[in-house]
Symmetry: C2
Subunit: 359 residues, 2 copies
């Protein structure tokens, strides 16, 4: 068992990384939740089996109930948020009731937002089952839902009480989902850790084979890197946390213009990072070689590295201007200044964005 500690004062918590184990589950729950008497599990239609297994393990110590949400990004909706709140109320959830999210980023974000809003905040446990959720969305406390006008437009900061990551869940993950998660893994190398980027370059074959030892190393390293950022800027106030959005301004635009679900989030991030890197070249921040290394690595992971030809550039830019990172309507991008370091820039013009997007 490996543990990553996220140090946030009274909201500190730990991430347990295990492989194919459930033995420590009850001990883990008790140490995370204290006096909780009731647990409310949330899964999607793909993670029902694991959820039921964890629920059955919990039944001796807790009164349990659950909700199963349709799989897919479209479940990050006001309707499902409202549904979960109704179910919690029906269950008679009180302030100590724990919410356990078993699934990918959609389930973590949705169940986390319901946990944040019910009684102004219920204790919350993340059990991420996708690579993307393990290395990104389950760490850091951002929860929320989508709005037709923008991804993650509605939400809260609500830190989990603990995160339980079983690498074993990755064995059955569909290939496209697994590869999508690798985009965020690559991102950490570019924004924070050049050695880690090299490590990925040197281990592509093992990574594609989902070698368990490599995966544990990767997941632990990504969680640590993300925790380092979140600890310094929990609520995205100082600006530091923005570095995690490398590639995301483009990615959110791709996802919004094409309709959520056309590309997986990681796929959009992969192409988004390439365009952000091209912008950095255009602003003479980096040599082309840094973009080329990203393209090579992302391509080996069979991830898209350019936008689809049908998307209209003005539409993409319009979405970017509405992005949460936009300050008073001005575009803001996270751009690499070298491998392992990025910076927020808001002097990027629409013209420059249009140029890098032009085919």
């Amino acid at each position: 068992m490996q543990t990553v500690s996220v140090n946030l004062g009274p909201r500190s918590y730990s991430i347990q990384i295990i492989a194919h184990e459930t033995l420590g589950w009850l001990t883990f729950l008790k140490s995370a939740l204290g006096h909780t008497r009731k647990l409310f599990f949330v899964s999607d239609t793909h993670t029902t089996t694991l959820m039921q297994k964890l629920r059955d393990l919990s039944l001796g110590a807790y009164e349990c109930n659950h909700a199963i949400i349709p799989a897919g990004e479209s479940s990050k909706s006001m309707a499902q948020f409202s549904f979960l709140l109704d179910e919690l109320a029906e269950f008679g959830a009180d302030r100590q009731t724990g919410v356990v999210a078993v699934g990918g980023g959609v389930i973590g974000d949705l169940a986390g937002f319901a946990a944040a809003a019910y009684n102004r905040g219920l204790p919350f446990i993340q059990v991420p089952t996708t690579l993307l959720a393990m290395v990104d969305s389950s760490v850091g406390g951002k929860v929320g839902i989508n709005h037709p006008k923008g991804k993650n437009l509605i939400g809260a900061f609500h830190q989990p009480k603990a995160v339980w990551i079983d690498i074993g869940s990755l064995v059955t993950l569909p290939e496209r989902e697994y590869l999508s998660g690798l985009a965020e893994v690559v991102k950490y190398g570019v924004i924070q850790d050049p050695q880690f980027f090299e490590f990925l370059e040197q281990n592509t074959a093992k990574i594609l084979k989902r070698d368990a030892a490599i995966l544990r190393q990767i997941v632990a390293r990504c969680c640590r890197l993300k925790a380092d950022v979140v600890e310094k800027d929990e609520r995205e106030e100082t600006g530091l946390r923005m570095i995690l959005n490398y590639g995301h301004t483009f990615a959110h635009a791709f996802e919004t213009v094409s309709g959520y679900g056309h590309w997986l989030h990681g796929e959009a991030v992969a192409a988004g990072m390439v365009y952000a890197s091209r912008l950095a070249e255009k602003k003479d921040l980096i040599p082309a070689s840094i973009t080329e290394r990203q393209i090579k690595l992302l391509s080996e992971f069979r991830l898209p590295v350019k936008a689809e030809s049908g998307w209209k550039i003005p539409d993409l830019i319009e979405v970017m201007k509405r992005d949460k990172k936009a300050q008073a309507g001005r575009l803001r991008f996270i751009l690499p200044v070298k491998l392992g370091e990025v910076r927020a820039l808001d002097d990027v013009t629409e013209q420059q964005v249009a140029e890098v997007l032009a085919p």
Copy 2:
């Protein structure tokens, strides 16, 4: 102009208490909001005129938009929350967009929750127009909506950037609403300040006449008393903030069982305080005289001091068990131990509650 400072570290803010003035409005906004370019006003159908006046004053410095919500407790709903988020998205609100709530507690709670959730938190200004909102709901950062299963069941902690209280708004407030606000005023005397309780007893005539000088004193004192509590327990974590819920476990049960809107919130709190005080007598914490003084003062303010005869005791108790203050299903009450001091007790039995509620 009078100012009450709420000291919450990075979330500190000040409450400006003025009478029939709007001169300082723009200065107030600029100091509270900094770089904000856009303002989104929310009012209800009763406060539209004041909202429009403040919006017109703001137009020189800000791009403004607004939403008008039907007056009444039933607007604290998922439907209106969702509507405000749609309107904010339509307005193209970014992270700096300020939300200005002009109205009573319903508008402050609803608009505040939309401000908390949109982009995970927009800067928020409270302009309370009812006595209840001035002395209670606009101070302390609790925002939210109701659920059919419980009042304020869904929400967040989201501190305003500043509060603008114009005592002048109280002149046109309907009598029943005004009296309802006095219930929370009396509450502060019972829970924190025996001198203030005596001050109220000695000035009932002036208070009923809405004497402006008295009202400024009362509003400033209540804001200060509430701020003292909120500063020590911002997110209801240490238990101290619970003292503000004196009378509220009963009150929420009355409101839920009778359907929101039958009694005004303050009316429910008035009767709720009397029952809580009776419980304290039953547990030998206080002499009957302390309850009698509350009954006398509340009656002079023409507030109800007992439940309506049609409400069923088991139904009321069922709601109380689902109350946010209930710990793991155990009833918890805030009970006076003397005038000016209360304590949280969770050894109250259902039997004792039923006995004080029995006609």
